[in-house]
Amino acid sequence: MNEEKFKFRSRMRALTDSSVTALSILATVLVVAPLVAIFVYLVYKGASSLNLDFFTQIPKPVGEAGGGMANAIWGSALLLALASIIGVPVGIGGGIFLAEYGRGTKLANAVRFTADVLNGVPSIVMGVAVYALIVKPHIPFLPFTGHFSGFSGGVALGIMMIPTVCRTTEEMLLMVPHAVREAALGLGVPNWRSVLSITVKTASPGIITGCMLAFARVAGETAPLIFTALGNSFWSSNLNQPIAALPLQIYVYALSPYDDWHRLAWAGALVLIVLIVLAVSLVRYVTSRGVLKGAS
């Protein structure tokens, strides 16, 4: 009797075990399926609409076939350059503070915590804040303020880069062995030079990948640009004026009722995703190769 009970129980346990295995495999399949679906559909729709015009032409008026997104690609490049100029130095500086100067202090813990929280603030809120700060400011007459502009869009994206860059820089600097710092200081190198040309330089591949991650993240951001950069259907390099951006153009075209514009939206999405996947793969490659192999 007892033996039968025991046999039954162990069979049940084995059954539970294998059904859980099956369920988690099913979950994995269910997760991978939409991803593959998105990619396949994107490549299929995007590649069939992509041509040279896409990169060289500006949008045609409604009803005319053809046209491209050259202005949006150029606008995105300008916005991202401005964002990087703002976000990368401040982010790296914050990371250096966390890893080199503030390590273990309450202030550093507070900064780290705030950075993580800031990372989770929705991008649309960032857009609202920048709108209030630059597009419709309290103090008029300042340059670049008072109207929709590429400048305000770049600032919004730059602010969003800071926490990501800051945290990855910190993590990378923490991986640099202490002996390297001590060696530099032992040779009489001033502290600031030791930080910049020894510690940061050693960790630079990791820091660069962190910056690229942040870059890839803001490259696809649309929400903070809707009411800062606004978009523009003509060629413009003027950051003091509304400027086109690739994600913004995709959004507008996707919701339009025209098939031609839908095709352009897919082509734009493909270009955007190829850029981002390239960045992420590069990051993956560098980190998996061991960023600091030479140092440790």
Binding site: S24, A27, V125, V128, P190, N191
Partner: protein, 370 residues
């Protein structure tokens, strides 16, 4: 560091050669005095090092510059909060806290209404409702899948598959919101409209959660599904991280007692990692609450409250995205800003909570860089 001078002697030429970009040598009064007092016994090394002067000013400047960069993060958060509070004053003074729960009655139709920019009647209730419903749906769909995926990846998956699968889910996190929206508009919504919604109405219509009033396929369900796909990688990668942080001895102990693999996962891993998993879920919730573009593209954007998950609605972030650039009056603008402020406060609380929980679990182990 005079003690180390002797040791350095041999390396002096190396220093000069390897660092040709040194600053112009500027003698410091003290150093000159020292060099002058002791004549022959001062070695070349000492002269060289003293001639560098001390870098206390440069060091202090650099130090404070870095501190400033760190503090700028506080400044950004403070500035955002300040601007949002200031710009939402108008609506706050008119509606007060009832902004988040009141409803107005339409004069002609006598139906409840919430959002009337023309008559300056504003209530955030339908947007709060839409945000909560779509986020809850997203969690309902994604949490079991994410935990299943994390279990598979950490405990069962053959090593050869682990890397590519983890990479794929990371890619899922890197796709921009607007591309999810594009895909949802052209693939997911037609799919829901043609196959899934009729099935739900037919099979579960009696619950009142699914009715056929809205044939477009847009609505809460579409938003919930696309949000679920978007927050899945966040929850799953954090779950994976805390599960990996559970020491191997725990697993071995349970296995040694004769447990099956599932029992080992349940008792040895999930029980130890549960706080961190909850943290990951809350972080996913935070992302779902603030997600804008994909939701704005598929939820239908009507300021209404319906019981049916298949009807149109709107969320807090979607209404800001749709109306902020074209706000018709100061009050409209202020009401939208107040919604933004509410979103800001909610996501800060949710994220702080999640960080705290994750920190409680992983503080013992070094953080992983991906």
């Amino acid at each position: 560091m005079p003690g180390s001078l002797v040791l350095v002697t041999v390396h002096v030429p190396d220093i000069r050669i390897s660092r040709p970009q040194v600053q112009p040598e500027r003698p410091i009064p003290d150093a000159q005095k020292l060099a002058g007092e002791s004549t022959s016994d001062v070695s070349a090394v000492r002269k060289f090092l003293l001639s560098r002067g001390n870098s206390s000013i440069a060091d202090a400047v650099f130090h404070w510059l870095m501190v400033l960069c760190g503090l700028s993060i506080f400044a950004i958060v403070a500035l955002i909060a300040f601007e949002l509070v200031l710009r939402s004053q108008l609506s706050w003074q008119k509606f007060g806290l009832s902004f988040f729960y009141q409803a107005f009655t339409d004069r002609e139709t006598h139906l409840p209404m919430f959002w009337d920019p023309v008559n300056e009647h504003f209530s955030a209730l339908p947007f709060v409702y839409g945000t909560l419903v779509s986020s809850f749906l997203a969690l309902l769909i994604s949490v079991p899948l994410a935990i299943g995926l994390a279990i598979f990846l950490t405990e069962m998956c053959p090593l050869a598959l682990r890397g590519p699968l983890a990479f794929l889910t990371e890619l899922l996190a890197a796709i921009p919101s607007v591309i999810y929206g594009l895909w949802a508009v052209f693939v997911l919504v037609p799919l829901l409209r043609a196959h899934i919604n009729p099935f739900l109405i037919h099979g579960f219509g009696w619950t009142g959660l699914f009715n056929d009033e809205n044939p477009t396929g847009l609505g809460f369900l579409a938003a919930g599904v696309i949000l679920a796909i978007m927050i899945l990688p966040i929850i799953s990668s954090l779950t994976r991280e805390v599960m990996t942080a559970v020491p191997h001895s725990q697993r071995e102990a349970v296995l040694a007692l004769g447990a099956t693999r599932w029992e080992m996962i349940r008792m040895g891993v999930l029980r130890n990692a549960r706080i961190g998993i909850v943290g990951g879920i809350i972080l996913g919730l935070g992302r779902a609450l603030g997600e804008t573009m994909a939701v704005a593209m598929v939820i239908g954007n009507t300021p209404e409250i319906h019981r049916s998950l298949l009807s149109n609605g709107s969320t807090m972030s979607a209404v800001i995205a749709n109306e902020y650039a074209e706000a018709v009056s100061d009050m409209h603008f202020s009401a939208l800003t107040e919604i933004g402020l509410a979103l800001f406060i909610i996501t800060i609380i949710v994220n702080a909570l999640a960080q705290l929980l994750i920190w409680m679990v992983t503080r013992g182990t070094p953080s992983q860089v991906h």
